[in-house]
Amino acid sequence: MDKTRLRRLTGNGQQGTGDVSNHLVTIDDVDMRYGGPAGTLAVSGLSLHVDKGEFTAVVGPSGCGKSTLMKLVTGLHIPQQGVITVAGRQVTEPVSIVGMAFQNPTLLPWRTTLDNILLPLEIVQRHRRRLRANRAEYVERAEHLLETVGLKGFGDKYPWELSGGMQQRANLCRALIHEPDLLMLDEPFGALDAFTREELWCVIRDLHHETDVTIQLVTHDLREAVFLADRIFVMSARPGRIIETHAVPFERPRDLEVMYTPEFTDLVHELRGLIAAARTEQLEAAQ
């Protein structure tokens, strides 16, 4: 792939907004409670930071607040306590430098795949003003993204004409079209078959390699986390906080073969042990 071109397509272009440190995201001692003062405490004492260009993964027992973490970083929820900053600014409302993709592709059935991918441009302030006059340029960008994820020529198909895996690819394109600095993925490959999943891992890996986008991935699949991430955050049971941060030592770019090395398996094993322990703790606390 043409590196400089993709960098222009998806990279963040201007760096160094006066922020001395290299942190794109910092979460500092955050508490988030749903449904008023007597509601569910989803995360508590949550702290972490993500560097620019880094690929991090978040793993933890089910219901521990991983999706909540995603929504906090994107500004969809504002925490009751603690501070979250993204790109040096405290998050008090949705941050539009972020692209999001969930497990459910949520493509709009009345729009073609291409129009679905262009949707964020109709929303994000700095693009929506330019969209009408520069449509051809944006369409070209979308076509290029489609090609990157292996969907070349499917732009004029409707989402219901695509398979689940193809919809998820289109979903990724939609998350990337407005050139986000930060890509938040919440179990995006959860519903796919093993082969499609591995293929999309490689797509994401290459995308991260060729651009300077920062990616944070929530996943249940520990192999996925170890294969893709530079660092892995392990969360405790609800209320979630980070109980351990694991650096992944494997050289980049990684080949799928790395998953069959003993070091890889050991790391997966270790993570599995941590999460299992967090779950037992929770079950014991419940008794």
Binding site: K71, T74, G75, L76, E93, P94, V95, S96, V98, M100, F102, N104, T106, L108, P109, W110, L119, P120, E122, I123, V124, Q125, Y158, P159, W160, R174, H178
Partner: protein
């Protein structure tokens, strides 16, 4: 298996086998040309004809008196005999129904969007609407007559009042069932409530809206005819009431048939509009609001 012999096996096969193959090929082509009778498409007509035939047959067989149940041929005779009257009254009923229906479409769409827009409006209006819908519209007609006198207006308003509710409910349902994840994706990009409504909510509620038109138009006929039978000097309802008081039972039935014909025609029109405007909903398997 392919009926087309390829070059290779033409050469290797005996002449007899080749002839058989050629014949089979020809037969297959003829069979494809002779299209089977489209039973499913013809079914509505066949069933309707059967219904009238059974009706006609039983009336004749059991010599049912005309003032109890006239035979279809007798009704047809009445339609021909009284055509000018039937025509003017049919047009009148169609007119009040369609005007009431169009008001219901405008009002129902507007209120549906409003109710779907804000939880506050929804919470406040929903019980009121349920209560209002529970009132039999027959009971409202006398009040409308007091306000507006006998004439078109009560019929139009009754049609409006009765057709209004399903449209509101359907539009509001379409808006209320936006996937939260879709909303999250848009809000994370800085979308305001209006953006979410324009890009997702309103297109999404359109299949529900167009689906509700079929119900609404049928109900609108009910409304206008109710009003016409209570207080009007024109319309099919009025005509049937007058015919009944003169024991002209064939004319009463002629009115019923005309109502059925108008109802089916308008329903078909709404179904066609629905299909034209929101075909994506059928093809994508999105739930229909009914």
């Amino acid at each position: 298996m392919s009926a087309e012999p390829t070059g290779a096996d033409t050469a290797s096969k005996p002449a007899e086998a080749r002839r058989v193959e050629a014949r089979q090929h020809g037969e297959a082509q003829r069979a494809a040309k002779r299209r089977p009778f489209p039973w499913v498409k013809a079914a509505p007509w066949l069933y309707t004809i059967a219904l009238f035939a059974i009706w006609e047959g039983s009336v004749r067989l059991f010599t049912v008196p005309q003032y109890v149940l006239p035979a279809p041929t007798v009704i047809l005779g009445a339609i021909i005999d009284y055509w000018p009257t039937i025509w003017t009254n049919s047009v009148q009923t169609l007119y009040t129904t369609v005007v009431g229906f169009l008001m219901a479409v405008a009002g129902g769409l507007a209120l549906g969007l409003l109710v779907g827009w804000s939880r506050f409006i929804y919470a406040g209006l929903y019980p009121l609407m349920i209560g209002f819908n529970a009132i039999p519209k027959v009971a409202v007609v006398p009040i409308l007559v007091i306000w507006f006198g006998i004439g078109d207006v009560p019929a139009i308003l009754t049609a409006f009042l009765i057709a209004f509710f399903p449209i509101v409910v359907n539009v509001a349902t379409g808006l209320a069932t936006i996937e939260p994840e879709m909303e999250d994706v848009l809000r994370a990009l800085g979308a305001k409530k209006l953006d979410v409504m324009l890009k997702v909510g309103i297109p999404r509620s359109m299949p529900y809206f167009f689906g509700s038109l079929k119900i609404a138009i049928t109900l609108a006929f009910v409304g206008s005819v109710i009003s016409e039978t209570i207080a009007a000097n024109a319309g099919l309802g009025h005509m049937m009431l007058a015919a009944q008081s003169q024991f002209n039972v064939p004319l009463v039935f002629a009115g019923l048939i005309m109502l059925a014909v108008e109802g089916i025609a308008m329903y078909a029109l709404m179904a066609w509009i629905e299909k034209r405007t929101t075909g994506w909903a059928h093809r994508s398997g999105m739930a229909q609001g009914n």
